[in-house]
Amino acid sequence: MLLNDYLNKLKKTNLKELNKPWLSNELLNKELLDNIFPDNNAEEWKNFNVNAFIKQKWNLLISQDSPNLKKENILFKNLIVFNNGVLDKKLTEINTDDKVKIHSLQEYYNKDKTIVDKIYCNSKKYSEDRISGIIDNKTTSLLSLNSLLNQGVVIEVAADSKVGNEICLYNQISANETIINPYILLVANKNSEVNFLDLTSYIEENNWTNVFYEVYLEKNSKVRMSNFSLNQSMNLNTSSYNFHLEKEALLEFASINKGNSKKDIRVFLNGENSKVDIKGMLLSRLIENSDIFCKVTHNAFSSDSKQDWRMISADTSKTSLNGKIKIMKGAKNSSGNFFSKALLLNDKAKALSKPELEIFEDDVSCSHGSSFGELEKDKVFYLQSRGFSKKEAIEMLVSAFISELNFSDNNLSDNLKNEVEKMFIGKDL
């Protein structure tokens, strides 16, 4: 079935019959179905080439079983497998003595409505306020598309438990010209500690992965989440990551965004002394468009946020970053920091970085800074004069540039090295 046909069918049904009680009325608004794709008028989508997904006819998944995953290739003690965005129970293996549980969203909702109601009550919080007062639902609509198409999976970490080994959320894409919509809620209960590796591995080409994460960090929980993809090449990716932090919660989020990819990252610091540390690398080559919108909202006293970004654009590609810090009234003693550094490897390559501060409280500290540039010629010459070929010199300087990020997850730093090497293959510099 094609996506458009399905959407037309939905318009004729009573959406309540979908039996997704967690979806708010706003999300179940039929007008949204006419307007499902974001366009460049929405601020969050300004820098991304939306034609890439508007122009194409997308298939919807019919059969969910495509188990050609070679499991011996994936060495994780804790592995949660998604085949084209759908949980694969057969291949999933977690060894955490019941510290980690997997539910369907429906089951979880029947068990406990509080978190789900808290998160899903107001879809508008994911939209940017306009000066005009009109709220733009474009981003929300893409989320609603996602939630309409997928049943949702909840991964819950028990209170007071520390999960020693990283949990790999392994999403394998083996479809073709298909839209793939994993819809995942991660819940870290009180005083828990967990590391997630969110890894999308593409076997086939020309798919659109539209990944949606809600991550809920209860009081005094610690979550580290790292993200990257393998063999993305001609696949398109749009991801949303929404983090909700309660009192004393700590989040470390690290990501490599590359290829035709857009990430929409929202962090809500809702509890006192909650803290987020975001590190990210944006890579683009050929004619790719690697884009991130990241917004941290400080809603609580003494909340702390840090964003540290690096961008590398090669060939005629573009990296773009919009980083926002919003400090609400009452979030006294908070601190919000944004830093980005972009490197252009070609005079036709582009990088855009736009930090924005919206501050509604006095007693806070905020900083932002961005720098852009080509490799310094004097450094290249210095290395050449010591015997490095021009290419080796440039590679060494780029590796110095990326080492500044210092990812704590080795999978991520290894992948970054590989991806950066790819930028130089076949290049005569």
Binding site: Q384, S385, E392
Partner: protein, 245 residues
Amino acid sequence: MLKISNLSVSVENKLIINNLDLEIGEGKKVAVMGPNGSGKSTLSNVISGKPGYNIKEGSIKFEDTDILKINPDERAAMGIFMAFQYPVEIPGIANSSFLRTAINSIRKKNNIEPVNTRIFLEELNQIASKLGLDKSFLSRDMNEGFSGGEKKKNEILQLLLLKPKLCVLDEIDSGLDIDSLKVISKGISEYSNKKNSMLIITHYQRLLDHVIPDEVHIFNKGKIVESGDHDLVKILEEKGYKEFS
């Protein structure tokens, strides 16, 4: 070893090296002394192959090969080394890994297998201690936050490690206290032998009290205005550069 003939170089249409002839024989230490802005760094850069200069005329031959069309890294592999007046800082690269990559790049270009890590580290530590550098110096990022003296010592450390045939020292003495000057001079003098050559570029005479040159040339406005032996240094000190233009 090096023969510069009839060399004229301009930058942005401004003539900086003006019809220069200079020859440096094997085993010779040749000093070029000139005031600020006379073109000393331009000369060093052109010898080592920095892009961005317009060579209007002339040639530079290194061991009978015209090097002007050869890339800087190839020149390094042939045995040309320049100690920079202003060494660059490269955060994110450890000094020792930079040094090992450098030595191996040069070896590779000369078809020599990579250096044995243990031997390399031994030699590196030995050179570092000779120059009075702490071990931690090698694990720090390349020149980042180094003092002026440490940066210059790092240049000499590289020289002693890479063992070039031709050393071009561009104001290696600037910004050094007297102790560092002695250490560096000693390193240079000990390295100097019958098989290698030195082009010692400086503004002041004090380095030349420690490293005694075989020939001295006074350089002004991109050309040599006076030549002599070590005694010329004394004469210059008395008269100043104004007398030579």
